[in-house]
């Protein structure tokens, strides 16, 4: 039994900062490490490297919730102060969970910069054991109820 599920989502933000600064926040390890992996759920970041150029990539290893998350990406397109496109894999405890194409597009707007981040993902199986079993019973029933509402 194997399968892949496809999904696309886009998130938009507008920052009161010039486009050069928003772009620069993605373009160096010094800037990106300030915000990219620093999540409340993350227990530790064990490795983070960034080679911000076409053909270069980013690697991040972090621990969260008792699992090891690995993020491996490669840049395919970078236009300074405009956009970047990368592809990446996510691993949880050594298992490949998703392969995605991510892009960030920046547009100047009055007083700031609009950022649109789009992710086209292919989500792989392998989740049905660890993740589901880790979920608490109540959590599971709540998510089941959400699923039923969506599919009713």
């Amino acid at each position: 039994m194997s399968s892949a599920v496809h999904d696309t989502f886009a998130i938009e933000r507008t920052y009161p900062a010039p486009i050069e600064r928003v772009f620069a926040a993605w373009a160096s390890i010094e800037a990106k490490s300030q915000w990219f992996g620093d999540d409340a759920e993350v227990e530790s970041i064990d490795e983070h490297t960034l080679d911000f150029r076409v053909g270069g990539g980013e690697h991040l290893t972090a621990k969260a919730g008792g699992s090891v998350y690995e993020f491996d990406s490669r840049y395919y397109d970078i236009v300074e102060n405009e956009r970047m496109v990368w592809a990446y894999e996510m691993y949880v405890d050594g298992r490949r969970m998703s392969v995605s194409v991510g892009s960030v597009e920046l547009t100047p707007v009055p007083g700031g910069t609009r950022l649109v981040m789009t992710e086209q993902g292919t989500y792989l199986d392998g989740l049905d054991t660890s993740e589901q079993r880790a979920a608490g019973t109540r959590e599971f029933l709540e998510s089941l109820a959400r699923y039923l509402e969506r599919t009713a």
């Binding site: 933000r13 900062a17 600064r21 620093d38 009055p110 950022l115 049905d128 079993r133 029933l141 089941l144």
Partner: protein, 125 residues
């Protein structure tokens, strides 16, 4: 479907199956009701598509039909929430650490036309 879930025994069966596929006898063991009663409850769950069962030899094994799909959906939701938090942190980073030589915003409150960000800041802190 919600009617099927309204019964506490059926919810316990779903909870059990949420941990992985199980034989009917395994499902019945912790329950204070007879095996035929458990089978009846399972038939209700099968009838609305929540549970699938398969008989191999003398053992009927049940599995939750929505589990895998739901798990993938949870993962996708997680990925999206992760990016939302990251982009909020980017906003905090940009606000807290203006680069030298670039004029900071003249007011603490950003102009109304650029407050399109619908997410409250720092909600996950």
């Amino acid at each position: 479907m919600f009617a099927a879930l309204a019964d506490p025994t059926r919810r316990r069966l779903i909870e059990h199956l949420g941990r992985g596929p199980a034989a009917v006898s395994e499902l019945a063991r912790p329950l204070p009701i007879s095996l035929p009663a458990v089978v009846q409850h399972l038939q209700v769950l099968e009838g609305c598509g929540l549970v699938r069962s398969e008989k191999v030899g003398r053992v009927r094994t049940c599995r939750l039909e929505v589990t895998r799909l739901q798990t993938v959906q949870d993962w996708i939701d997680d990925r999206r929430r992760g990016w939302e938090r990251r982009l909020d942190r980017l906003g905090e980073y940009l606000a807290a650490d203006p680069a030298p030589g670039i004029q900071p915003a003249p007011e603490t409150q950003p102009a109304p036309e650029i407050t399109a960000n619908p997410e409250p800041k720092g909600e996950n802190r």
